[in-house]
Structure formats: structure tokens, C-alpha cells
């Protein structure tokens, strides 16, 4: 026990003891290195920072900047045995007994610090909770690990902690398992677990990155409220400058393991000193800066590349004694839209709204009902071979460039594969074509012999783009294709996509949850909610004049990368999005779209 349970029982903690001035946590000269195949390599170099009581310090940077390693070093949770602290001190202020240097603490004493004095929440709420233990068990055990409370008292505190993170019906939730909760709810459970013991410091490592944007707003709001109540100091690690602007008192920008710049949030955003900070801020997509793309004349004149009419995709769920279909997931319910050449239609919405399923139906990856017309030919009336020929015109780029390339194939062969499958071109022609594709997407032809793992994330996504281009498609479906990339890389890939569109007249169906990116690239936008389109119009119509409440909420939830424009309190919605799963015979109510002027369609129910 790191302290007597008497003076600091959870729930009876006095608000931030402001009598002890000075930092709660002070890091000086921290160097962390990782042993890899090519020897030892520093991932954090000579980092010094201090964290004041009740302060929010954001550590921002792109992947590989060492921000997560810093967090893990504070907690002594560095991946073993590869990573270790080479030098430096991490001082935690200990009210009455002087400071403790965490970097030199043994595992047994460190255990009393973790969870009690410093708590941590992680990026992936879906995998950060143990799937075989109930929420209650996981909450109660962390309370019991650090206090002398009885099981019943610990349980009472667990319920209080769940109530504090605004989880409805807290008491009955204790019996639930993680898989029964949505991502946002799980992250709240993580926060409840972290804050149950009123730690001095909370380290949040990309806490909202895996969440939908409206849920992100709620979780950030919650963190701020809890901080105000308890005076907790927060270290928030994020790659999202919008989140930084929203949350930070002070900001540290990191790159390649070094601190590039440090300052108050206002200073960093208004007067960035380092070049890198300026570049980073410039690359951040912002709503309201979309380059006023004129709708090209060609788009008006030629017909549509693809027309989707009254598309339905439903997945049957089996149950009962004979395994008959008793329920259905109504993933896509009566979606209609068309895409012209040279045009980018963005499909936006939150997880589970059916945007990816719509794309899969269009690419022929799921069975559907309704009409899909590509290049003037309705797929429904075609035979297998004809359908394959038509589908050549539709290609897809996926979200995860790490997972969508076969690690055992050379990238040149990966790009040539679509040509091979459709029996196009001789061997020499193929390799010539692949070489020119490589150059077109900004890679060089002599990289064709390499394997996917030898490329960075951005380069891999370029390979995926080259593969999609190989068949000279008329329509490319980009399913969250830039979501996994760092902002600077993201900006360059978006530019490439725009260039290719100008050059080849390709139409894009651009699927994204990121409203700022969508605003940046799209001509028209369709907003999906529970399998149906609730609003559709040109980019300006949707972003400047959103009419449907869900669209408004979606746009409002995006954090603005400017601390001067910090939003007022975000409207909370402490409930789960309804499920698209329904019993047989209970079809969801169909929304009718009404034209509110110049083709701006809004759902009326």
C-alpha cells in the first residue's frame, strides 16, 4: 500500500491541494532506446518537461515521434525487453515524503504508483479491456489493488466511478462484458477505471483516435469536466491538432524523439517558432478552407459513371432451433446517388452507418438488392463474365495500407496483378505499365522489386493507388484511404488523388469519417445515418448550410485546430446510437429526401 487508505479514500478526496505549488511530475533528460535488428536506436532523446497540478499538457507529433514511448516510460511499461530508459529522471511529487524518481523505482514499488498516483488510458477501447472479465470485476479489482476497502465498498465506488463518467444504469452495467458495449462506452469505462482512485496524473494516449467524431467530442468534454472536479493533471498524447487546440493548456511538439517546440496552446497555434510546427499546422485539414473547386464542365456534360438506385444490403442473422433467419442487419436501406466523371462524391457518417457496405456493394463484394449501373450498364442484367468486365471500371483503395498488401509478394507484382487477372497486356507491356504507374504515383520504377514491409505507410498507400489505377478505372472507391496516415503524409496523398483526377478524369467515391478531409476533397457530400442518406448536396450546401440535425451535429463535433475558437460546451448525447439490427418484418422507417433548393436534398421523416 503506497499510502494509508484513510486519508485518501476514493470519493472523499479533497479538491486539488493547491497548497503544494510546483510541478506534480518533472522529467529531465529522459532518453529511451529500443534494441532492434539494426542495433540500439534512441526513440526519445534528452526530453525534459514538467507538469503542473491541474494542467493539461498535450504531447503532439506524428507516428514515430516518441510520444507514446514517453508515456510508457513514465509508467515503466516500456515493451520488455527491447526498450529501456538509458538516462534521465522522472520525478513524481510525493506530498509529505519528498520526490520519487520513477525511472529508478523497482517493479514492486512502481506497482503502487501505477493506477493509484498515475493512471493511463489507451487508444484502443475495443482491445484495452479484458474480454472475459465483467466491467464490474475489472473496475473493482483496480480499486481493491490500492485500498483496504471491502468488496462491497469497492463495488459502491465502482458504481460511483461509472456514474461519474455518465454511464447510464451504472449498477446493471457492472455485470456486462466489454463486447456488449460500444467503443465510446468502453472508453468511458477505461476513464472510470483510471479516475476511480483520483490519481494525481492521468496519461491519455490517443484516447479518442479510435472513436467516432461525435463520441470524441463527448469523451473530451468528459475529461475536461472530471479534471475540473478533481484537479487531475493530464498528459494528453495525440496526433490530432484539433484535439490539441481543444484541450491543451501547454503543448509540446515532438519529432524523431526530440522536443521541437514547447509553449502555451495559444502561442503554438498563433506564433509557431519551429519550421516543423509550422509545416505540421499547415498540413492539418480544416473545415472552411476547401479550395473552392469549381464543378468542371465535363462533369455536367457527360452522363454518370455510376448510378446507384434504391440500394439495399441486409445481412441475415440465424437463430432458433433450426437456425432460421430471425433477425436482419439493415446495413444499407434504400440509398440512391450518382457520380459523374471528374467528380468526387464523399460518403460520410459514423461507424456502422453503412458507408463501407455501400462501397462494397458497388465493388461487387457483397450481395445487394436494387440497381447499380456502371458506365450505363445495369449489373443486375449481366452474366458473370460481362459483370467482371464492367467491374474493371471500379477499383478500391482501402484504409489500412499495412494489411491490404500481401507481405509475401513484390510490390511490382502486386500492382501488375489486376492486369494479370483480367488478362490484359503481355508480360513486357505489363512491367512497362507498372513502371509508369510507379512513377505516376511518386515512387520510382526500381522499387518494384521490393516487398511491402520495406515501405512507409504513405508509400504503401501510393502502391495501393497504383494498383487501383492499373486497370484505368472510371471510378475509384477510396474507403477511409487516408485515415491511417499522418497529417503531412495525408495532405500529400490527397494532392496525388486530386492530380490523378485532373489527369485521367476519374470519379471518386470518397468514404471518410473525417469531415475536414471530406470538405477538402469533395464536390458533393452525402451524409449517412443508420443505413440511409439523411442529407446530400454540393460541398458548400452541406458544410455552409447543413439542414439535417445529424449533419449539424457531425460538423459541430469536429475539433477546430485553433485554441482561440474553442467550442462552447458540446451537446452531450449520453446514449448509444440505435442498432440497425431488427426482427424480421420490422423494416426501418424509410426517409424521404426533399429538395430544399438547387439539388440540396434533406431527409424529412
Amino acid at each position: 500500500m503506497s499510502k494509508s487508505a484513510g486519508n485518501r479514500r476514493p470519493g472523499v478526496f479533497a479538491p486539488a491541494a493547491s497548497t503544494t505549488a510546483g510541478p506534480v511530475l518533472e522529467i529531465s533528460g529522459l532518453t529511451v532506446s529500443v534494441r532492434g535488428e539494426d542495433g540500439e536506436r534512441p526513440v526519445v532523446s534528452d526530453l525534459s518537461l514538467s507538469l503542473a497540478r491541474g494542467e493539461t499538457l498535450c504531447i503532439a507529433g506524428e507516428s514515430g515521434s516518441g510520444k507514446s514511448m514517453t508515456a510508457l516510460a513514465i509508467m515503466q511499461l516500456l515493451p520488455q525487453p527491447a526498450a529501456r530508459i538509458d538516462s534521465g529522471t522522472i520525478r513524481l511529487r510525493n506530498m509529505d515524503r519528498g520526490d520519487i524518481d520513477l525511472a529508478a523505482l523497482d517493479e514492486r514499488r512502481m506497482r503502487h504508483i501505477r493506477g493509484d498516483r498515475i493512471a493511463m488510458i489507451f487508444q484502443e477501447p475495443m482491445t484495452s479491456l479484458n474480454p472475459v472479465l465483467s466491467i464490474g470485476r475489472q473496475l473493482i479489482e483496480s480499486i481493491e489493488a490500492h485500498t483496504d476497502l471491502s468488496r462491497a465498498e469497492a463495488r459502491r465506488h465502482a458504481i460511483e466511478a461509472l456514474k461519474a463518467v455518465r454511464i447510464p444504469e451504472a449498477e446493471s452495467r457492472l455485470k456486462q462484458y466489454p463486447h456488449e458495449l460500444s467503443g465510446g462506452m468502453r472508453q468511458r469505462v477505461m476513464i472510470a477505471m483510471a479516475l476511480a482512485l483520483k490519481p494525481d496524473v492521468l496519461i491519455a494516449d490517443e484516447p479518442t483516435t479510435a472513436l467516432d467524431v461525435t463520441v470524441q467530442g463527448e469523451v473530451l468534454e468528459l475529461l475536461r469536466d472530471l479534471q475540473r472536479e478533481h484537479g487531475t493533471s493530464i498528459i494528453l498524447i495525440t496526433h490530432d491538432m484539433g484535439v490539441v487546440a481543444e484541450m491543451a493548456d501547454r503543448v509540446i511538439i515532438m519529432r524523431h524523439g526530440r522536443m521541437i517546440e514547447e509553449g502555451t496552446a495559444a502561442d503554438i497555434f498563433a506564433r509557431p517558432q519551429a519550421d516543423y510546427t509550422r509545416e505540421l499546422l499547415a498540413a492539418v485539414p480544416r473545415i472552411g478552407t476547401g479550395v473552392g473547386r469549381r464543378k468542371s464542365v465535363e462533369a455536367e456534360m457527360r452522363g454518370s459513371v455510376a448510378v446507384v438506385n434504391d440500394l439495399h444490403v441486409r445481412f441475415d442473422l440465424h437463430g432458433g432451433f433450426f437456425g432460421r433467419v430471425n433477425r436482419r442487419v439493415h446495413a444499407v436501406e434504400g440509398v440512391s446517388f450518382s457520380i459523374a466523371p471528374h467528380e468526387t462524391l464523399a460518403l460520410v457518417g459514423e461507424s456502422g452507418c453503412g458507408k463501407s457496405t455501400t462501397a462494397k456493394a458497388l465493388a461487387g463484394l457483397v450481395p445487394y438488392q436494387g440497381d447499380i449501373v456502371i458506365g450505363g450498364r445495369n449489373l443486375a442484367g449481366l452474366g458473370r463474365d460481362q459483370r467482371k468486365a464492367v467491374r474493371r471500371d471500379v477499383q478500391m483503395i482501402f484504409q489500412d495500407p499495412y494489411a491490404s498488401l500481401d507481405p509475401r509478394m513484390r510490390v511490382g507484382d502486386l500492382v501488375a496483378e489486376p492486369l494479370l487477372i483480367h488478362g490484359i497486356a503481355s508480360k513486357e507491356e505489363r512491367s512497362q505499365r507498372v513502371a509508369s504507374l510507379f512513377e505516376r504515383v511518386g515512387l520510382s520504377a526500381d522499387q518494384m522489386e521490393l516487398y511491402p514491409h520495406e515501405f512507409s505507410g504513405g508509400q504503401r498507400q501510393r502502391i495501393c493507388i497504383a494498383r487501383a489505377l492499373a486497370l484505368r478505372p472510371k471510378l475509384i472507391i477510396a474507403d477511409e484511404s487516408v485515415s491511417a496516415l499522418d497529417v503531412s503524409v495525408q495532405a500529400r496523398v490527397l494532392d496525388l488523388l486530386k492530380e490523378l483526377q485532373r489527369e485521367f478524369g476519374i470519379a471518386y467515391l470518397f468514404i471518410s469519417h473525417d469531415m475536414a478531409v471530406v470538405e477538402n476533397i469533395s464536390d458533393r457530400v452525402a451524409v449517412m445515418y443508420l443505413g440511409q442518406i439523411v442529407e446530400m448536396g454540393t460541398r458548400d450546401q452541406v458544410f455552409s448550410n447543413p439542414r439535417h440535425p445529424y449533419t449539424k451535429r457531425l460538423i459541430e463535433a469536429v475539433p477546430v485546430p485553433d485554441p482561440a475558437k474553442r467550442r462552447p460546451r458540446f451537446a452531450r448525447l449520453d446514449q448509444e446510437i440505435p442498432s440497425p439490427t431488427r426482427n424480421i418484418g420490422e423494416d426501418p422507417p424509410k426517409l424521404a429526401l426533399k429538395d430544399v433548393g438547387n439539388g440540396h436534398l434533406v431527409a424529412v421523416s
Partner: protein, 306 residues
């Protein structure tokens, strides 16, 4: 849950029917003639024919199988050709010994295998890990009759700690259980190790450490239940391997179970006994799998039986 069990029971019955058909057909096609075995070498052709008629072995295959099925439904596995008694009685009298051996063997392999796997995973990359993995490899590759004889020589003949063979006390049970368990323990150690290593890498293990839990709680409360799932599914399949092993091990140790019964029956083409033992084994395997699948949701709440 009840619908699931109902479906599984119907499936199981179909599987058992299939097993009975295949075994029956194989025995029918066998060149060895059971009637010759019964009648003896000096019997006249007339005697042989009359025995054949008596046993119904002159009938076409389909009729024979049909008769067998009909009596099977009333719980009658037929009469042994050689031993002149009901197969059901023979099996029932020997089944407890075999079940006892099986329970002993499962306990041995779980205790040895899981401990080895857990230890190896936690001490991954160390000399302990390597030593345990070599040991498990030896366990997997050593033939059971060799292991059995070796254990007999060391612990019964040389040291005299356990009886050389037979049946009666817990002392009789130890060596045959170990012999059967060592093979499984090797497999379990390897499975447990890789499953555990996989679980230790998961995000929720990091969460458990970040909460400041003690090492024991992290390993036994957070890691073990997740790691043990694939191993449990394995126990069901294991019973099938046991049924094969039981024939050898019971012979080596003179253990009066159904393995020994089967061994004797095979040597003398005693078709009703072979059929009976095969069906009982198949039943055990089906039941084992069903049990393993039914237990899984109690460990992992994500698994739903439907």
C-alpha cells in the same frame, strides 16, 4: 441454449450412425472369416455353413446392417462370437476401468502440460523456456509403448514404488495415467505456450499492468482464462486420441478396460465386440467435443451457443 443442445444431439446421433455404417462395412469387407475362427480348423463345411446361417452372416450386407441397427436401438449390441456373452455386459463391466484411466490421464496431461506451457510463456526466451520445449518435444514424439515400458522399468521394477501391472488401488493407476498423459502434456505445453504468448501481447494485459495489479493477478486472472480457451477445445479431440492409446497402454499394463477387450476381439475377428467398442469410443469422442463446446461460453462470454 436448449435449441443448440437439441441440434447438437441430433448431429451426434447422425455421426454415430455414420461411424456404425463405416465400421460395419469395413468389417464386412475384411478377408478374415469370423465363422472359421469360431468353428475351428477341423470343422466340416456343413458345420461352417450352419454357424454362418445361425449368426445371420449369410444374409446380404444391407439386411445384416439393418438387423444390427434394429437391435442397437433397443440397447442390444449383440453377442460375442467367442466369449458367448452379451457385448453390452462385457463393455459395461470394463468401462469403469477405462474411464478411470482416462480421467487420470487427462488430469496428468493438464497438470503437466498447462504448467509447462504457462511457465515457458512467462519465461519466454530463457533457458527454462528452451528446456521445457525440448521436454515437450520428447513427450510428443516418444511412442507410448516405449514410455510405458520405460516407466515400468524405472518406477516399478527398479524403484518398486508402483505395482508392475493390474488394477485395484490408486498406485495401479499412476503409471498408466502418466504414460497416456505424457503424450498429451507435450501437445498442451506447446499450445498453452503459444496461446499464452499471444495473450500476453494483448492491449488488455498492458491495461492490467497500468492498473498496478500484482503479477499473480495479471497472469492468473487476466491472462490464463483467455489463454486456456483453445486448449479446452482440444480436450474434446483428445478423447479420440485416448481411445487409440488405451488399446496399447491397457495391454502394456494389463489394465482390464475396453482397450484390452478390443485388442483381444481384433485378434479373433469378434465382430460384435469390435463394433461395440468402436461405437462406445465414438460416443465418448462426440460427448467430449460437446462438453468442450458447452464449457467454452462459461469462460469466454463472447461465445454464444446457437
Amino acid at each position: 441454449m436448449i435449441a443448440y443442445l437439441g441440434r447438437r444431439v441430433i448431429q451426434s446421433v447422425l455421426i454415430l450412425l455414420g461411424v456404425s455404417l463405416i465400421t460395419f462395412a469395413l468389417l464386412y469387407l475384411l478377408p478374415a472369416d469370423p465363422v472359421r475362427q469360431i468353428a475351428g480348423r477341423s470343422a466340416t463345411p456343413e458345420t461352417v455353413e450352419s454357424i454362418r446361417r445361425q449368426l445371420g452372416l449369410d444374409q446380404p450386407f444391407v439386411i445384416q446392417y439393418w438387423h444390427y441397427l434394429v437391435s442397437l436401438l433397443s440397447g442390444d449390441l449383440g453377442r460375442s462370437y467367442i466369449q458367448r456373452s452379451e457385448v453390452t455386459e462385457l463393455i459395461v463391466s470394463r468401462l469403469p476401468a477405462s474411464l478411470l484411466l482416462m480421467v487420470g490421464a487427462i488430469l496428468c496431461e493438464l497438470a503437466i502440460g498447462l504448467t509447462m506451457g504457462l511457465l515457458a510463456a512467462v519465461r519466454r526466451g530463457t533457458a527454462t523456456d528452451q528446456a521445457l520445449m525440448v521436454a515437450s518435444f520428447v513427450g510428443v514424439s516418444a511412442p507410448q509403448f516405449v514410455v510405458g515400458l520405460l516407466l515400468l522399468y524405472v518406477f516399478a521394477v527398479r524403484l518398486g514404488w508402483f505395482p508392475i501391472g493390474g488394477y485395484g488401488s490408486w498406485r495401479h493407476l499412476v503409471l498408466p495415467s502418466l504414460t497416456m498423459g505424457i503424450l498429451g502434456a507435450g501437445w498442451y505445453a506447446r499450445m498453452m505456450r503459444s496461446s499464452m504468448i499471444d495473450v500476453l501481447r494483448q492491449d488488455y494485459m498492458r491495461t492490467a499492468r497500468a492498473k498496478g495489479l500484482a503479477r499473480g493477478a495479471i497472469i492468473f486472472r487476466h491472462a490464463l482464462p483467455n489463454a486456456i480457451l483453445p486448449v479446452i477445445a482440444m480436450i474434446g479431440i483428445d478423447i479420440g486420441i485416448f481411445m487409440g492409446g488405451i488399446v496399447v497402454v491397457e495391454s502394456v499394463f494389463g489394465w482390464p478396460g475396453i482397450g484390452q477387450l478390443a485388442w483381444q476381439a481384433i485378434q479373433r475377428v469378434d465382430i460384435p465386440i469390435i463394433m461395440g467398442v468402436t461405437l462406445v469410443s465414438a460416443f465418448a469422442i462426440v460427448l467430449g467435443n460437446l462438453l468442450a463446446d458447452t464449457v467454452a461460453p462459461f469462460i469466454d462470454p463472447r461465445i454464444k451457443l446457437r
